[in-house]
């Protein structure tokens, strides 16, 4: 029998890693270990397959012209144009949703972490945010159609003859889609706020700062990376959502502005997601090449937003509070 190797991991800060070979384990345990490896590898293979396949199809069908020409309604695919308008639509919708979600989310997170009184209300709000996060976007879309067709919200979209409010516009879709990003902003900001040790707050109070000034001058600057992470994650979700743009944006090919101030914002349009859906076999267009090209651009945007999260969270580790 061989001598057991000395246990190197003891005394290290990391998790315990006994130098032990799985060859001596009972068979059931070895099967379990094998399955765990298989599950981990399966996830890698699936993700790799999706990314490589989309990369392959994207490079095959994407051309610069597609990016800068406007889409047209045409039976002949050589004349149906590119997807400039959907790209602009995705940008506008993402910016609108973020503008609404970020301040609200930060405010809610600050209130929950720093005030949170009365505590029953804080718990209620906390579970409310979970509920918003768990509500399917198609249900949010139906709710949006119901509420933005009310005469009260007529200023958001155009009004047809007979005072029927259309209820579909960038403003309406942006307001509803911000709810998708909100839980991410709240979650990341709260996590960052909770990571700040209490002696930082106490130091600020000791210098005579009020609570409001402490939040504004000390805490908010410190949690900026957290806010950035949450916002980037939320932007990725907004850019990738399909149900709300289909229902609330009209899912038209081109941006259609209405007359009057803020015409484009009050008008209808489409996003990359609705473009992909419309050009897939499930939609009306059925032009798989263009769907692949647009989906590749969409995937690129989403992956870049997630990559941005990585950069931000890596920078966050540099600033640590010393005791």
């Amino acid at each position: 029998m061989s001598v057991e190797a000395p246990n190197r991991a003891l005394g290290n800060a990391g998790p315990t890693r006994p130098m032990e070979s799985s060859a001596t384990w009972p068979r059931a345990d070895r099967v379990g270990l094998g399955l765990a490896w298989a599950a981990g590898m399966l996830l890698c293979v699936v993700a790799g397959a999706i990314v490589l396949y989309m990369l392959f199809r994207g490079l095959q069908y994407l051309s610069f012209e597609l990016l800068v020409t406007r889409p047209e309604v045409a039976n002949d695919q050589s004349r149906s144009g590119g997807f400039l308008d959907p790209i602009i639509g995705t940008l506008m919708l993402t910016v609108l949703g973020t503008i609404i979600a970020a301040p609200l989310g930060v405010a809610a997170a600050v209130w929950l972490s720093e005030y949170g009184r009365p505590s029953w209300l804080a718990r209620l709000v906390e579970s409310g945010i979970e509920v918003v996060a768990g509500t399917p976007s198609i249900v949010l879309a139906i709710f949006g159609l119901l509420i933005f067709s009310q005469p009260l919200f007529a200023f958001l979209s155009f009004t047809a003859e007979g005072n029927a409010v259309f209820g579909r516009s960038f403003l309406a879709a942006g307001a509803m889609i911000s709810l998708i990003a909100l839980p991410f902003v709240v979650g990341a900001t709260r996590e960052a706020l909770n990571a700040i040790p209490s002696h930082v707050r106490e130091a600020s109070y000791a210098l005579g700062k009020t609570k409001a000034a402490t939040i504004r001058r000390v805490l908010l600057p410190a949690v900026r990376p957290g806010i950035g992470t949450g916002t980037a994650l939320g932007m990725g979700r907004i850019a990738g959502d399909t149900a709300i743009p289909i229902a609330l944006l009209g899912a038209t090919l081109q941006l259609q502005a209405v007359d009057g101030p803020l015409g484009t914002l009050r008008g209808t349009g489409g996003t990359l997601t609705t473009y992909v859906y419309g050009n897939s076999p499930a939609g009306e267009g059925n032009a798989p090449e263009k769907a692949y090209a647009a989906a590749f651009v969409l995937l690129l945007v989403v992956v870049l937003l997630n990559f941005g999260v990585d950069l931000i969270s890596r920078r966050r580790q540099v600033t640590s509070w010393t005791r």
Binding site: A36, V131, P136, I142, D241, L298
Partner: protein
């Protein structure tokens, strides 16, 4: 001031529930509990509702939504069952067994799977998996056997469950990894000191300690699965209630869940009775996801003691 802003969330949820239920009421009232029952094919019923006369007294509301509910139940249960196995195993792998180099790859991989938009999953499904199932997996004989009941085109329960599985796996993995990492080290070391091997240690100590996280992960993933609309609308096919007694054919039969049905009739929602019917379908989804989210939130509470979530 900030508190008032935060309470907007509650106001919003209240308005949403009230408004959706209020709009949905005519559909529920005219069908009663039979709304949830089985009966005529859904497509015909929804078309009848869409074509109902303009006179409000003659609006059609008849709907027996069981085929759609059955589709939602099947896709959700199938995907959650498979995803639970995969995500528990891969969470154990990430926390305990993965070499550092593989771990550095796996963590972004899980985040990537969560970030891929559902329309991209749907596109890959409808252009790659559906033709594969329709042309290669289902033989001509099998298609001919059932052609008078249902067309087997490849739009199927199988593809829907398969893709949905990988859409909800990251949600579970993220929660489980956090919980497994937070299991007190001394518990694991105590087990290791008794000569228990690493697999049994994590299986008997780690996984048991992380049970609330597993429940929370399953509940939140279920909420995500019942609400998935676009991907299912693209790959799951037409209205049909797959019959488990059909053997393998069961897996390749089409189905159309609740959320996907809304997408198909969205354009017709300006017809008042159809709009109210769609709101009724949305109400069923909303109430289920509301309870699931609250259950997930409650299941997460014990984890807070360990500083997770």
């Amino acid at each position: 001031m900030l508190g008032a802003l935060a309470c907007l969330v509650l106001l919003l949820i209240g308005t949403m529930v009230a408004m959706v239920l209020y709009t949905a009421w005519p559909s529920f009232r005219s069908n009663g509990l039979a709304w949830f029952g089985a009966g005529a094919p859904n497509q015909g019923q929804l078309d009848d509702i869409f074509n109902s006369p303009a006179n409000p007294a003659a609006y059609q509301y008849e709907l027996r939504a069981w085929p759609m509910i059955w589709g939602t139940l099947l896709t959700t249960a199938g995907a959650v069952a498979v995803a639970l196995t995969i995500s528990l195993l891969s969470a154990i792998f990430i926390v305990e067994f993965a070499p550092p180099r593989i771990k550095r790859v796996l963590e972004p991989v899980v985040r990537l799977l969560a970030a891929v938009p559902s329309v991209v999953y749907g596109l890959v499904g409808v252009l790659v998996l559906v033709p594969f199932v329709g042309n290669l997996l289902v033989s001509e004989r099998r298609k001919a056997e059932v052609q008078y009941v249902v067309q087997l085109t490849g739009d199927s329960l199988l593809v829907a469950v398969l893709i949905l599985t990988f859409m909800i796996t990251p949600i579970m993995v993220a929660i489980m990894v956090d919980a497994l990492r937070a299991v007190p080290r001394s518990w694991m070391e105590g087990s290791a000191a008794l000569g228990v091997n690493r697999w049994r240690t994590i299986w008997k100590i780690g996984v048991r300690a992380a049970r609330p996280a597993i429940v929370a992960g399953v509940v939140l993933a279920t909420a995500r699965a019942i609400g998935e609309a676009i991907m299912l609308a693209m790959v799951s096919g037409s209205w049909f209630a797959p019959n488990p007694l059909d053997g393998f054919t069961f897996l390749v039969e089409p189905t159309r869940p609740l959320a996907a049905s809304i997408v198909f009739y969205l354009e017709g929602r300006t017809v008042p009775p159809l709009g109210q019917t769609l709101a009724a379908i949305a109400a069923v989804l909303l109430i289920s996801s509301l309870f699931l989210s609250l259950a997930g939130w409650a299941a997460k509470q014990p984890l807070k003691r360990y500083g997770i979530v």
